[in-house]
């Protein structure tokens, strides 16, 4: 499901037009982005939690050139599925 489908579904479920739905979604996303940038953790009941984690700097060797690289630390947004959601997908089997 891509963004358009999501918006149309949201509009259908909320009985609002697609533009409003898109606006809301965009606003929601910017809000989320702002809070994540502040390293906030967002947990959604029944779905999961978004949290920002710091990955420490590390040394790697470039496999081709053989040069040693110092990779700087970075902040990464993670999503951890909640137990309820995990239970939901637990018995799911691949379609094929």
């Amino acid at each position: 499901m891509n963004n358009k489908e999501l918006i149309s579904e949201l509009a259908r479920n909320l009985n609002i037009n697609q533009n409003d739905a898109q606006d809301l979604l965009n606003k929601c996303n910017t809000l989320l982005g702002g809070s994540f940038a502040n390293m906030d953790t967002l947990s959604i009941q029944g779905f999961g939690a978004f949290e920002v984690k710091k990955k420490l700097e590390r040394l790697t060797i470039h496999p081709v050139s053989g040069k040693k690289l110092l990779v700087p630390p970075k902040l990464v947004l993670n999503f951890v599925a909640s137990k309820t959601f995990k239970d939901k997908i637990k018995d799911l089997q691949p379609d094929e």
Partner: protein, 483 residues
Amino acid sequence: MNSKISLNELTDLLSDSAKISKKEANAFLKTLFDAIETNLITDKLVKIKGLGTFKLIWVENRRIANVNTGEIQEIPGHYKTTFTPDADLAEAVNEPFAHLDTIVLDDEIIADKPIDPIDDYLNELKNRPELQPEPDAASADSDEDEQPEETYEQDEEPVTSIFAQTDPTGGYQLSQAQEVSMPEEEQTEPEAPAEETTENGQTETETEKPATEPIPDAHLPYTPPAFVESENEQEPTASREWSYEERYEEEKAETAIGETETIDADATEQKNKEKEDEEDEEDEEEEKKRSSSYRWIIWMIVAAVAGIGGFFGYTYLYGLFPFEKTPEQENAVIIAPVPVVRDTTAIQTQAASDTTTKSDTAQATANRPTEPKRKTIAETIEERQKAVREGKQTENQNKSVLATEKMVVGSRLTKFALKYYGSRIFWVYIYEANKSKIDDPNNVPIGTVLDIPDKSVYQIDKDNPESVKRANKLAETILNTKP
């Protein structure tokens, strides 16, 4: 900042920013996440612009061993949820560290270890010439340091050329003289004594030539190399351990020359050979008399002299005085540095005792280039074999006999050859050395005590194809002559 927010707080924020009621905001967010959830389950993939992508990824079933019990359990295949944030969002999140870039670390730091062994190797190279003269030389004189370096430089040029003309082993003599003084001793012995006699005052006519020929050797190419060479050769002299100092001083010069000389003196070889054989005996008798206490004193002296000589040689070589290249000793003596003066005077006194010094030297110099300088291995061997044969067996034993072996059941000459020389083919030399005891090399009676000749006597070298070839040839002749 770092706070935990829930759906309620997000609702508040959304209602504020979108200017909608909290109810609407709450409804929106709920439907949003519900939609994500359900669609994720049905589609396994949900893309939200500005947020990221949710995916369900199938994980195949796998077996794991319980860490505690060691029990093997099977984890059934299942889906796992992944979320990849949008590039924009990821960037925004990583803002605090955005300015940091991956740094390529200096190669120097990485190359730290590979460099070390090279340094060690270089140090080794540096140290080696210092070690070469002799162990106590290093402590004896600080000047010592200069000498070996210098000789090293010189080695590569004319010295080697001189040596190159001499017998094939001669090329190694510089290093051999210092590292393995014993074989060197043996090598020089048959030759050096020729000069001794000049001092001991044997017949003038005979000794004249060997005495004078050294002089052109030392002075004619009286360029640095020649000088250096004479310095180097101190070691062989030292190994011969002369008991009195004066004599040693003189000998030093002579043996120095002696090595190159004997080879040069091919013309007079015939004459010398006879003498050498006699001298061989004398030499060995002297050797026996020497007490070990003298050794140390002499080693020390050698070290000191080498050091001083090296220092002066160094200063002179690098151009205080241009060296005269005339064969006249007077000049040489005048310009020669102090330690060298000793050497040269030794030669000079000797030379002066000869009435025909100058003419002889002149002659010698004239002859020298034309003289066949190359002494083939065969010739040296011939010489040595002669020495072995003619010299009394008992006396020669010390230097020419590596070991003695008694023939027992299962013994073969070839086995001894393999044991001592590393190749079976050299059995011929064992046979050669024990000819008197062996009638048939294929059938040596049990109980026969065999002298295993030293390698140097027959120039035995299993790595030298020439030597092997010679042994082969000899074997053929021996086997053909024997019925």
